[in-house]
Symmetry: D2
Subunit: 366 residues, 4 copies
């Protein structure tokens, strides 16, 4: 099992390698009747496109998406939506050398261990380009969520040691800087830090945060299909993610119950709410009506220019320098990937949830 499928009702299957003919995704289970154009999808893809600043690789792909099926007269038909982005900029020659050794921090060795050999061109299936299919599908999920009044806001929370300040938080800033930080000051500081990393032929990690507004209460399941468990898997399935936490997250481990519990209250309109949100919007695996807030830790780009020790396929030692230019930080381009995966999980949970109550079902089919 290559494991390239995701979702229960809104199911996606992605395919494609960095230097193959293209990258794509098939979405099986998109509801019928959604207005959908290539531009809806392109807007999301453009957020992960390389070559947009000094902090992402200058490989310039136009990454134009083409809808191959599932849309008729501008609307989804309920049948599979097949999307393709053709690869344009593949210079396989650049990658011939890396076929012979195992790059530290990459999946070269594990691919060989699993499959016996690998498509070594640009990381093959483990390239960042694999996320194109996720983002293309996620853009459609997000469009549906938007119509349901559910909005996702995702941004860079930290890069290396530079973290955004709660006081300066400004969502309007997110798309104003190349690092997608909601804090202009931190963004400037982080750019300086990244320039240092680059001049030291090095790279940096960081943290991505996602906030989901408008989620109704009671979505998700109480045991294995907890909403937070599915978000954890979705986000952890993105290459380079090494940690996931929701609400107070790892800090909860140091707290006392009296500090971490969120008291329930009732607002003027009669809506039950929580006074605080240490839970991050999910209790017992089901949404509690508050904002859903989670974070993902992203490791530093493993492709660095400085000399590294490693081995060849036969085990013999070799010192390597990874050529070509690589993003000094994965985080900014991964922001939209995290948002896309979250959108897929949230929408799927909402669709699955329609059959939770007999009354709703009888009403639906009345």
């Amino acid at each position: 099992m290559a494991g390239s499928g995701f979702g229960t009702i809104f199911k996606i299957t992605t395919w494609g390698e960095s230097h193959g003919k293209g990258i794509g995704v098939v979405i099986d289970g998109c509801p019928a009747g959604l207005s959908l154009e290539e531009s809806d999808i392109q807007a999301y893809l453009d957020r992960r496109k390389p070559g947009q600043s000094g902090f992402s690789t200058p490989r310039r792909e136009s990454d134009r998406v083409e809808i191959l099926s599932g849309v008729f007269e501008g609307k989804t038909t309920g049948t599979p939506i097949s999307l393709i982005v053709r690869n344009e900029n593949q210079k396989s020659a650049d990658y011939s050398e890396i076929a012979s050794f195992y790059r530290p921090g990459h999946a070269d060795y594990t691919f060989d261990a699993k499959y016996g050999f690998r498509d070594y061109r640009g990381g093959g299936r483990s390239s960042g380009r694999e996320t194109i299919g996720r983002v293309a599908a996620g853009s459609i999920a997000a469009k549906i969520l938007h119509q349901m009044g559910i909005r996702l806001c995702t941004y860079t929370r930290s890069i290396g040691p530079v973290e955004i300040s709660p006081e300066r938080f400004d969502a309007g800033q997110i798309r104003q800087n190349p690092l997608y930080m909601p804090d202009a000051g931190a963004a400037l500081e982080a750019q300086l830090y990244l320039e240092q990393c680059m001049s030291g032929q090095d790279s940096s990690g960081g943290v991505i945060e996602c906030v989901i507004d408008g989620m109704p209460a009671g979505i998700g399941d109480p045991v294995f299909e907890k909403l937070d468990a599915n978000l954890a898997k979705a986000v952890f399935s993105i290459g380079a993610v090494k940690g996931f936490e929701i609400g107070s997250g790892f800090q909860a481990a140091e707290k006392k119950g009296s500090e971490n519990n969120d008291a329930f209250t009732c607002d003027a309109s009669g809506t039950i709410q929580k006074q605080t949100n240490h839970a991050g919007g999910i209790l017992g695996g089901m949404s509690d009506g508050s904002q859903i807030i989670f974070r993902a830790a992203v490791k530093p780009t493993p492709s660095i220019a400085r000399t590294q020790h490693t081995v060849r396929k036969d085990g013999s030692p070799v010192d390597i320098q990874i050529k070509g230019r690589h993003d000094p930080v994965i985080v900014p381009r991964a922001v939209v990937v995290v948002e896309s995966m979250a959108a897929l999980v949230i929408l799927d949970a909402l669709l699955v949830n329609m059959s939770a109550k007999l009354d709703s079902i009888l009403q639906f089919y009345k």
Copy 2:
């Protein structure tokens, strides 16, 4: 979908509520030919049993497991293994009051939001007793892994602010103290801390760590079914878990690539290894042959004796005190639950992996 199923080939389905007739699990897909007795399973269940120390609820359940199917003449037959633990100690009267209000930090409110009503006795399906099915199934997975030379070691890494010391790490200590800490000194300190919490009618969170030895390289899948993504989901599906990280985890976000990359090397026997293990044993979603190391952050027990503010079902405010005795910390009893979920994920990945290479398949059916 209640979402009580887990796994692809080694599939489990759990059932049961805290105060229903019992708790159980059906394992569909256990290979034929495993020697299995109730005592194999009981040994695991006893590790999560309440009433074993001053730090767990004195509710004394014998929690005896009964094998109902799938084992014939002492061996698994390949057909579903049905396991049941009868509930013995259910005093529903204790729980009548909590039917009327929503306990902070619990799933009471979200259950009502999803299903319209709930089995309010002892947390119903969201009780810690739900994990009995996980542990019973996990014990069987672990027995198979043991025969493959794969061992899991799981323990309490921290309770509140008290963390184990790497210098004093002693796996032999884990079962020597009621907190399952591999550090006698930290265990004593943590017990003092928990006594403080209890005298303050409060509770504490903590961190669980799991180390897996003997895992062959190349297990797991490169995209959505990454081994770490499945571990993340498995562990996050345990109630009270708020964070998950692997290897250097959230610390990777603050590091540089040159610090976080693990150099490959080759030992005398010709085995390719990593010199360090910041990756935590998984690269690109597939095991790399190193130890797999992950951590889970567990929130403090939400049931605390001190007065809390909340609302009734109709939204009216109420001050509550949760009666009965509750564990002041979830962590020690959750250690075996984390280990069980990890065993399920690891075994399933190994079984799925058998069809990765055509050569192996042709050899298998020769």
Copy 3:
């Protein structure tokens, strides 16, 4: 994979062997709020109980079902419903001899080929008792369908050469004769035929027919999850079924298009209908609003008293006579099993279908 799970949203997992401790099923995904008592389930189980006439084995099991979880204060909670029927009448001694040879027409040989050994007592997992779990789950599905106005009527269409007559069809007769035939005359004739079979130490096959009324149009999916494809799998998964057809079935192969097409028309109320129903109520995999009609061919009971040639496990030849009394025909007791499987498929398709249209989803979550 033992393959004991069935369904997408309304998922069941069955377990148990003929001579183990019991037989059971876990239903994961039953909507919350259904009134459910053991008597609802028992009514279905009683329809497949042995020992009810001269044409079924006199092994008298009371087959009492017990609800173990998922029901609180008389209503389903949305969490897994675990059901158990304890085995009572297991005399393992009766079956010791068959451990040594392979009975013709049974799964003895294939079980050994797959798993290396088998629980040989009474057929083990391949016993007819395996269907108890299906029927218990099916009874719940049927109860929900009933509330949606969907009724299933299943009966014996033929036994050996004796077929019901369309002219004498009387649904009221089905439960009036031990063969579940909707034709009193055919039932008498079939009983005579079965007596002949029994006196000749032989058995008979037959055909079961199922008619589903009240199904809304548009349920099912157009490609692999066609409603008829899922019915085919469900019915074919019942032991002894050797053929399945819908509507005109195999006769359609001999017809011309002008004979087989069903013309659409419109009734006074404006409802679009078909003038005929050669399609059997499904077009392109989706229900068309007509009656769904399908048939299953059931082979004769393989356990017959007359001498048969076979081999022992080591391949040496042996002549055997299967002892004990066995049903001379499987069909009557399988009628409720076919109905149960159909109910599971139909309900699951209805639940899956709730997310087909965006408009309905937006309306649902408004």
Copy 4:
């Protein structure tokens, strides 16, 4: 759920409409290391291509397949294989009229009932062109099976009243006549029959038979995932199939046990076999080592030139004549589709089966 996915380990997802940009399939879970070229797949696609004789529509599509991913240096990599066939011959104008009414025997009405509207061009997703994805994937499954010594032979068994004769059966004839009949005499007779149908502006049904040689015993599962149940679903998921039977099939219903049971015997080499094969190669859901033999009943092409009565979307009556030329019989072109679906089921069952026995697993990972 559009339901366009199929398989457990060797999973496929098909997409595409008759008059969209193309038709395709993604295969997720193909083992690594299979030599694969476009010509392997093309050979299968050519068997279902239209325009090859007077008995199939003259719409001439070249139907050239392109491999988009998953193959590197001539071998499958273990990652998803994406295949596309571009549509070339779409004249949407031809189909504008059928948008307004519901063709008898087609899915027009049910599509509208399910999704609210439909892509009416050439049947949209319910076109016969949907099977291109199945055949493309099936060709790969068949190539793997071939390397395991498993061969599928599929042919037309009957067209209308014309059936092949067992005495004249000659597999070498199958590709020698446009009807894929293994009997030259019957093929001639059937051609005459089809010419009559065509001159009467009518069409014919027929029966397809598939024989699988070389299958090891013990493949498939004993309960819901019976090998015959999965074959039934796979074949029934092909449009126009109305019946499925295995071995003696519907005839078993008329037989006695003594006639239908297959006696076991042992050949000179010590292999256990059956003397007859009424079972069709599967007992209790698992292969028994004999030939697997099944049949599918295919309805007559619903698109016929003669005038038919139907209704418009608003229910008003209309007499229609379906323009354009259509195959007078679906059977010959469906032969390779049936074979492809069978190959997918058989291969998947073999892959799933690798984890049936603990001994095999321990041996595999030794």
